[in-house]
Symmetry: none
Subunit: 402 residues, 2 copies
């Protein structure tokens, strides 16, 4: 069921070239009014110059027809098959708030909810509290909740009505059923174990949710937490173990720093914006073998359905490209984690264009766009295979067999 | 090393768009005298117009270099990896005569054969009886054969010297060796079990073949049945279970209705020809999410080695395409189950061109043909992956991860 992922035993542990990955989130698109996609329509002189000395291709982030979320899509870009390393919702939320997960942790999401006087859910989002209101509720319960002595509890506010809980301790399980019934007019469900290894975890969760209700009894809006997306983080082999690389993630948003931290990349800074992301690369240069830079606006404008704004977001990154090129990375890749066509206003399953500039490229086109990449030398591959290509072009993969 | 098939847990059980699959059997070809393939040489204005608003691609029905039979090739088109769901010859014959198989049934093929006075095979095909002669022989033995009380026997004539037997009952096995020695001048082989679960089945088969010889002792031509292609039908999860789709098969030939029935599609009508197949789509429209239409002539003319007749068969289907387009399916795919190049006069392993028309397509060419499809956005994929793409374009696949 899996693709050919990086043959780890071929990874050279010695020296090799530097690798830079620029991710324009949701880069791939669909034709707009002009018949061109967002990337094809954008004026991108610097990306085009790069494409002219690159191997080009397109890839399916996970599999044909599959629309990936950001977590699995980035795992694939980092060389981890998301079908082999599934990451649950709770884990993603924990990553999203920058929590430093350890193998064995159980994470789940919380909805702040309103109850009526009979204990039935009247609003699953508690009237959509502001970030400050939501945070205040979490701050209030955090210190008061009690867990068994061998368990460590973390409660973190995410955004508005959303928060995340993480339990750390021996023998916890992620097979706990949602307490969020996904409807109003009914009481929250009890936390029930869906497997024998999660019975105690379910009891702890039930106790936490009961304690929370007592603590929130007099709150004007938020009377209970609804829990869902339970998942246990199983741990995955690190970037350094697998690829012999020291990696760094430069990303404004915590979600992307979180996925990078999961595979063991350094996460030192929180750049305030795109220019700062590139500046962070300049200052960390020479210290890392692999640098991952994340730019969000392309995806956000795609989800807005604003074709022209997505074009502008691409052009804004293009203007920053020369600063990356000046560092002379041995391998420079520019791509997306998935497609977010403005016409669709959502993530999609469409293949993603990629350029890989290196001394060993086989250039095939003068521009960077879906149509140019489609006929490129990298062909039509799976996202998880990009890492093998990067390692090869960086001189970091040994010959297979004699 | 197998392909990614549809991740069933992403299938949306709710609403989604309608899907139509037109299969021009054996569509793929090889260059004829003009250097163009049959599809490239054909005048297909309607398919070309469809291609201009489609995502295009080519696929290997089973795997590179593998020439598929119709059964596996169609299973792949329906999203079932034929390497994961192997279908034995006996099962295919049973499907071919329209028999309604149940999990646990054991089916095998019969050759009507002539023996000499010493019981040695003199003609493995009994002088090639006509359909009527072959049917008369089967009708004659059918009622007279005896099986144990807990076993149900079905004997069906296929065509000329070919028939099929199906055993239904508890604990039957498909590991029985062929009794057809594939040569003349030697007696038929005994039915031997090739595994412990098939000992009783082999005994039942041996008894049936012995009874048949007694019943046929005075027949002028047919003196024995040679059995081969034993297989047990294990059952496969239905189309509805896996993809949440209600499907219908509209096909003139029983083989194709049989494979469709295997995966749980409705098989209501037996269209008399191609026009009637499209008319059946029109009358069943609105009642099904997924409609499979099968057209045989392209394959038959390819096997004849008649390049021009295959071109004409493609053009005849092209003329029917507007009636399908008028129904406005959300996803309309046109393809073959495999290639049948007229120059080769047989099924082949060559990649098959496909067009997928949908609102979310990325068009790349103005024509439908092998060379246009080769550079298309769907790339070069495996047949079983087509279903994922169809579901995605129909809005029937959930996002993978957050």
């Amino acid at each position: 069921m899996s693709a050919i992922t990086v043959p780890d035993d071929l990874v050279s542990r010695g020296d090799g070239g530097s690798i830079v990955l620029l991710v324009l989130d949701g880069l791939g698109g669909l034709p707009g009014p002009s018949g061109l996609t967002e990337l094809e329509a954008a004026r991108t002189p610097h990306l085009d110059a790069l494409a002219a000395r690159s191997s080009l291709g397109v890839f399916n982030p996970v599999a044909p027809g599959v629309t990936p979320g950001s977590g699995p899509a980035h795992l694939a870009l980092f060389g981890y098959d998301p079908l082999q390393y599934p990451i649950g919702r709770g884990i993603l939320s924990a990553l999203g708030v920058g929590f430093d997960l350890k193998a064995g942790d159980v994470a789940f999401r919380l909805n702040l909810a309103s109850l009526d006087r009979e204990g039935r859910i009247s609003d699953r989002r508690a009237g959509r509290p502001s970030d400050a209101e939501g945070r205040a509720v979490i701050d209030r319960v955090r210190g008061a909740l009690e867990v068994p002595d061998d368990v460590e509890l973390h409660v973190l506010h995410e955004k508005e009505h959303r928060a995340v809980m993480i339990l750390r301790g021996p023998g916890l399980g992620g097979a706990v059923e949602d307490t969020d019934p996904q409807e109003t007019g009914v009481p929250p469900l009890p936390a029930r174990a869906a497997g024998p290894d999660s019975v105690r975890t379910a009891e702890i969760v039930e106790s936490l949710l009961t304690q929370s209700r007592a603590l929130l009894a007099d709150d004007p809006k938020v009377h209970a937490f609804l829990a869902r997306g339970f998942s246990r983080y199983e741990g995955i082999p690190s970037f350094r173990e697998r690829f012999g690389l020291s990696g760094v993630a430069l990303a404004k948003y915590p979600m992307y720093r979180g996925v990078a931290r999961l595979v063991g990349m350094a996460v030192e800074v929180e750049p305030a914006g795109d220019e700062e992301t590139v500046a962070a690369l300049e200052s960390s240069w020479e210290r890392f073998d692999y640098s991952f830079l994340h730019f969000k606006a392309t995806d956000a404008r795609g989800e807005d359905g604003d074709f022209d704004a997505k074009v502008a977001a691409i052009e804004a990154i293009d203007a920053l490209v020369p600063r990356v090129v000046e560092l002379e990375p041995d391998v420079l890749m520019v791509t997306g984690d998935h497609s977010t066509p403005a016409t669709l206003k959502a993530h999609s399953w469409h293949p993603v264009p990629v350029l890989l500039a290196s001394r060993w490229a086989r250039p095939t086109a003068q521009r960077f766009g879906e149509r140019d990449c489609r006929g490129g030398d990298l062909g039509h591959f799976r996202g998880v295979e990009l890492m093998s290509l990067a390692l090869a072009h960086a001189g970091r993969l040994e010959k297979y067999g004699a």
